[in-house]
């Protein structure tokens, strides 16, 4: 991993834990933020290839509902989460086979279409999903141990943090590999990739399935944290939220998604607290300002402020 990331990563992880100790309610907020960060990490892979999915909330919902449906049979987080990621992978592969053939608006819109069909299914199959009422997820065990609520929340937060660190590291390795480096090549010169004997479609499919797996895992964590899942998870505005976070955090680094997710959740919480009727407007304004004046996102701002200064010094 890029050595420049080590220090900010450790600092961020420490900050998360410290804030969660100082303010217990932040445990929940950070866990959800990190889980969304995992999904955004997947969005980042697609962004590298110049593709925007407006439907990745689908995989969050797939992961979350996998946990909800399997919970009666399986009461163990360490089993439920891999299963959520697996479900994301399977659905991602099936959908990916189709959408990886398309680019730009068609890619974005087909993803949107699949997520909206899934959303409709969650509402339609009322007998199984309880529709918008959603499904309750009784608190599972972790490593066979039934934890009290506070310990459980800590365990999930720390576990998610560990997952975020591990997967962030793996994704940064992946991005440095030929396969990962072929993603920007899809964006800039897809035909040249074909003339190198590489199937751009297959490269994109790999990234797509990885992103679906990450989002599925994120969805699983969200289900294990909120302990209640509803179809709203897969609504298109939530897909937009993931892209929002990716841009807010900055697509330049694997740290961006987590930074973006944490800031997004905190801004939303405080905007909602200060202006209950206009929090959406505040979020929109933040996004607008970021795009117009700091298009490389928070991570880009950090690079400009800190890293460049370092280099000059």
């Amino acid at each position: 991993m890029d050595r420049r990331l080590t220090l900010p990563t450790l600092a961020a992880a420490t900050t998360v834990v410290a804030l969660a100790i100082a303010a217990p309610w932040l445990k929940f907020v950070f866990t959800v933020a990190l889980a969304k960060g995992l999904a955004v990490l997947g969005i980042l892979l697609l962004l590298r290839a110049g593709q925007v999915s407006f439907g990745h909330a689908l995989y969050i919902a797939v992961g979350a509902y996998t946990v909800a449906f399997l919970r009666p049979a399986i009461g163990e987080v360490l089993l439920l989460l891999p299963l959520a990621a697996t479900a994301g992978t399977i659905v991602g592969f099936a959908v990916g086979l189709f959408v990886a053939r398309y680019r730009d608006i068609f890619f974005g819109m087909l993803n949107l279409a699949f997520s909206m069909v899934f959303y409709s299914l969650l509402e339609k199959l009322y007998a199984y999903t309880k529709g918008t009422d959603g499904i309750r997820v009784p608190r599972p065990t972790i490593g066979g141990v039934t934890l009290d609520p506070v310990a459980y929340e800590w365990a999930v937060l720390v576990g998610t943090l560990a997952l975020a660190l591990t997967l962030g590291w793996l994704v940064s390795r992946f991005l440095a590999s030929p396969l990962g480096q072929a993603l920007p090549a899809i964006k800039t010169r897809e035909t040249r990739l074909e003339f190198a004997g590489i199937s751009a479609k297959r490269v994109l499919l790999v990234a797509y399935v990885a992103s679906a797996a990450l989002a599925g895992l994120g969805g699983g964590i969200i289900a294990c944290t909120t302990l209640h899942v509803t179809p709203l998870l897969s609504y298109w505005t939530h897909s937009g939220e993931l892209v929002f976070i990716a841009i807010l955090g900055g697509a330049g680094s694997v740290l961006g998604p987590f930074l973006g997710a944490a800031v997004y959740e905190l801004v939303r919480v405080y905007a909602a607290a200060a202006f209950p009727d206009a929090w959406q407007m505040i979020l929109g304004a933040v996004l607008l300002v970021i795009i117009l004046f700091a298009a490389r996102g928070l991570w880009g701002m950090y690079e400009d402020l800190v890293l460049r200064k370092d280099r000059r010094a």
Binding site: G108, V243, I247, A278, L287
Partner: protein, 300 residues
């Protein structure tokens, strides 16, 4: 059975007209600017709100029935004429050189802002102004009562818009310039076309059309918070299915969606919701660049 089918087609046509009016502006904007405008739904909603506000004012005047329809057009022009240029110049013009995803997200940000603006201006109570529907009266088909607004006016306006746009794009110089930019942006700018003016014009026209869609819908539906949100997804589906910037494609897609939906309501109500998506996936399976779309040849 045949009567049912006939009724389904009538309903489908009326619905298709609404879908077309929602999507045509977005198609136009996407064709020229290559920006998928998420805020399109907000323009739709604001067009509706302004039309309802003006309509309520007009209803209080003596000339109520005469004013009912012109007020809709006035609202669309007002909303599009103000919001369109303002947003294009102040926001979009700054990001034409940036990545597509940023352009998309900028409109998402505008959507979030405008969503709350609507709430702050018009509140959360549903607003309904059906003056225009009343002004036009009812029509009986067999023993089924339709409103003339739905049966004649909506499809009429949709057709007028379609032919008006086709005439504008093919027969006028400005229109041809727009088409040139749609087909090959680089070549058009190389030929000395001022792309910025084309963008400003197109975005304004697209915004007026979105607002007109909302204004036309306002007499038949309640305006509530979030009314624009649903329109966005629908019009996205139309744009992608039609092919980039294809006005005729948008009409054909709207017809497919309208008829598909009403047939579904009659014979398989459970599928109604997913009809636009099924049509989109099916079309893109067979024609990967949309009904009327052509693959953009990459020069080698």
């Amino acid at each position: 059975m045949t009567l049912l089918l006939f009724l389904a087609i009538l309903d489908g046509l009326a619905y298709a007209a609404q879908v077309f009016m929602v999507a045509v502006g977005l198609t136009l904007i996407f064709g020229v600017l290559r920006i998928l405008n998420v805020a399109h739904g907000s323009f739709f909603a604001i067009g509706g709100y302004v039309a309802a506000t003006l309509g309520t004012w007009a209803a209080a005047t003596a000339a109520a029935p005469v004013l009912a329809l012109p007020v809709l057009l006035l609202a669309a022009v007002m909303v599009g004429g103000v919001l369109g240029p303002a947003i294009e110049r102040l926001v979009l013009a700054r990001i034409y050189t940036k990545e597509h995803v940023l352009q998309l997200l900028v409109t998402f940000a505008l959507f979030m802002i405008l969503e709350d603006v609507q709430k702050l201006v018009w509140g959360v109570q549903p607003i309904f102004q059906d003056g225009p529907v009343r002004a036009l009266g009812q029509v009986e088909v067999g023993d089924i009562i339709y409103t003339a607004y739905q049966l004649y006016l909506l499809p009429g306006v949709a057709l007028a818009t379609l032919f008006g746009l086709m005439w504008f794009l093919r027969r006028t110089l400005t229109g041809r310039v727009i088409v040139a930019v749609t087909e090959d942006r680089e070549a058009a700018t190389a030929m000395g076309i001022d792309a910025n003016r084309v963008y400003l014009l197109t975005f304004t026209v697209g915004t007026v059309l979105a607002a007109l869609g909302g204004a036309l819908a306002s007499p038949t539906t309640s305006l509530v918070p979030g009314v624009g949100v649903n329109m966005i997804v629908l019009s996205f589906a139309v744009v992608a299915t039609a092919g980039l910037g294809q006005i005729e494609g948008a009409m054909l897609t709207a017809l497919l969606i309208g008829l598909g939906r009403s047939v579904a309501v009659y014979f398989a109500p459970e599928f109604e919701v997913v009809i636009p998506y099924i049509i989109m996936v099916a079309v893109l399976l067979i024609r990967p660049h949309g009904l009327f779309g052509r693959p953009e040849l990459r020069r080698v």
